[in-house]
């Protein structure tokens, strides 16, 4: 069971620790007349956990949607694992997406399928795993990792908010992505469950050596998971540093997040 994770760990560890896996330069995006992203520049190195903080509507989610090619930028470039996202054709984009995991705010579980079918969906269709015992093994491993070993035959409607997030995380990690993008992973959860999810994100990042961008409003989550924190306001990054550095900042905007 540990073999797959170990294999993945070795694969990722072999890569240069300093390698930049996500490079965003001069990113601009507007919706109608509203310019959401004005000039975003960001480099994320392999194995790094970057947390983006910011008020609602400042364009945090738009940034990671551009990273995964869900939105096309109006200007600037987004390079992921050495490939410029806007230049990719459909096939290349699909190929790149197999290396990126995206955890939606709502977890976005397929509600007509059981938890097992949710987890097997991308495994069968994207990773082309057809061997039933391999499928079972990977589902079992992932459910144990997220602390829900008995949830395989449950429907999403039978799960609580925290359980849905855990299953969403398991579904994303089961294909062993190199990059994880989290869109407000702890929103709508009670403080205890939020802490558990934050710890789970960190544990999974350590286990699978993923590179992550985490969008959140939750300062506890930011403290637990971040290597680096960026504060976004009005479509631009206003501050950057480690959680501890920013917590001591004298800047009014930065201070407002740490009160």
């Amino acid at each position: 069971m540990e073999e797959v994770a170990e294999k993945d760990k070795a694969k990722h560890a072999a890569s240069d620790q300093k390698e930049v896996v996500i490079e965003i330069k001069g990113l601009k995006k507007s919706f109608g007349k509203k310019q959401v992203l004005k000039n975003i520049n960001l480099s994320v190195k392999r194995g790094e956990n970057v947390v983006i903080l910011g008020r609602s509507g400042t364009g945090k989610s738009v940034t990671i949607q551009c990273v995964v090619g869900m939105l096309t930028p109006d200007g600037g470039t987004v390079t992921v694992l050495g490939q410029e996202v806007e230049q990719l054709n459909d096939k290349e984009l699909k190929e790149l997406r197999t290396k990126i995991g995206f955890l939606f705010q709502s977890a976005a579980l397929y509600d007509s399928m059981t938890v097992r079918e949710n987890l097997e969906f991308a495994l069968k269709r994207v990773m082309r795993v057809t061997n039933q015992s391999e499928l079972k093994k990977r589902v079992k491993e992932m459910l144990e990792n997220v602390g829900l070993p008995d949830a395989a035959e449950k429907m999403p409607s039978d799960l609580s908010g925290g359980m849905r997030k855990r299953i969403g995380l398991a579904r994303t990690l089961i294909v062993h992505p190199e990059i994880m993008l989290y869109d407000e992973p702890t929103t709508g959860l009670d403080p205890i469950t939020s802490r558990e999810i934050s710890q789970l994100i960190l544990d999974m990042q350590r286990k699978y050596k993923t590179t992550s961008i985490i969008i959140t409003h939750d300062m506890d989550c930011a403290r637990v998971v971040s290597d680096r924190v960026l504060i976004m306001d009005d479509g631009e990054y206003k501050a950057e540093g480690s959680f501890d550095e920013l917590s001591k900042s004298k800047d009014e905007l930065v201070k407002s997040y740490f009160i």
Binding site: M70, K94, E95, A108, V126
Partner: protein, 259 residues
């Protein structure tokens, strides 16, 4: 002001036509792309075909029964009551059976597909499929359109038979006719120019129902209200398409067979 509204309306309509063209091309491309989702197709055939059978059966039975009861006084007036099975068979097989089945299925199936896909869109389930690298069009759209295209003709055929049973019972309420004579008269009244165009048009009805339902659901805006709008719009649009296709097929059939 009114001119601007009309221009915006036309522009939106043209945009929608363009989007439908693009959606159709995506469907065709994915139809031949390989990796057909057989399990989902069979599940959809069951949901669309088997689950609609009772409704189609009851309606068709009543239609057959009512048609005989309505036609009888007129034909008796001409001394042509022996023509009742003939008249019923031709009108049910050529026109009433396919159209009634089409309209019922537009109400039941197009709305269900529109609401289901609309809800999946709103809750980011379709986005989740896409960002995982899986092909959401192949899984959700191709299977549903093919299932409606194959199941609606089947339902229409079964509905036609049930209508004839309803007609037989209605005839025996007032007159006395044996099943053998009734069937003989019905079959003698029909040739391939009656049932072939009817069968072909039900295939197009099915395609229209599946396509419109999928298109409306897939293009819902983000918001719960849009799920209702998608379902409602799917019913209205597919019902209109059914009448339009019917008119077209009848015109072509008349030119080919009934000069």
């Amino acid at each position: 002001m009114a001119e601007a509204t009309i221009t915006t309306g036309w522009r939106k309509w043209l945009e929608s036509v363009g989007e439908q063209g693009v959606f159709f091309m995506r469907f065709v491309r994915n139809l031949f792309a390989g990796g057909f989702e057989w399990n989902e197709f069979v599940r959809q055939c069951y949901e669309i075909g088997y689950r609609s059978l009772t409704l189609v059966g009851i309606t068709s039975f009543i239609m057959g029964l009512v048609l005989i009861l309505q036609l009888r006084p007129t034909l008796v007036g001409f001394g042509a009551e022996s023509m009742l099975p003939h008249t019923l068979a031709v009108s049910v097989i050529r026109e009433i059976g396919p159209v009634i089945t089409g309209i019922i299925c537009a109400g039941k199936i197009a709305s269900s597909i529109g609401a289901e896909l609309g809800s999946m869109k709103v809750t980011e389930q379709i986005d989740a499929m896409e960002v995982s690298g899986a092909n959401s069009v192949q899984y959700l759209v191709v299977t549903r359109i093919l299932a409606t295209s194959f199941m609606i003709p089947l339902l229409a055929m079964i509905g036609d038979l049930i209508s004839l049973v309803g007609g037989f019972i209605a005839l025996n309420l007032t007159d006395d006719i044996s099943l053998t004579l009734y069937l003989h008269k019905c079959i003698a009244a029909l040739d391939y120019t009656d049932y072939m165009p009817a069968l072909i048009k039900t295939f197009f009805f099915g395609f229209a129902i599946g396509f419109v339902g999928c298109y409306k659901g897939y293009h819902s805006d983000h918001g719960t209200e849009s799920v209702g709008v998608a379902a409602n719009s799917a019913v209205v649009t597919s019902s209109l398409w059914i009448f339009f296709i019917d008119m077209l097929v009848v015109q072509v059939t008349s030119l080919l067979f009934y000069k």
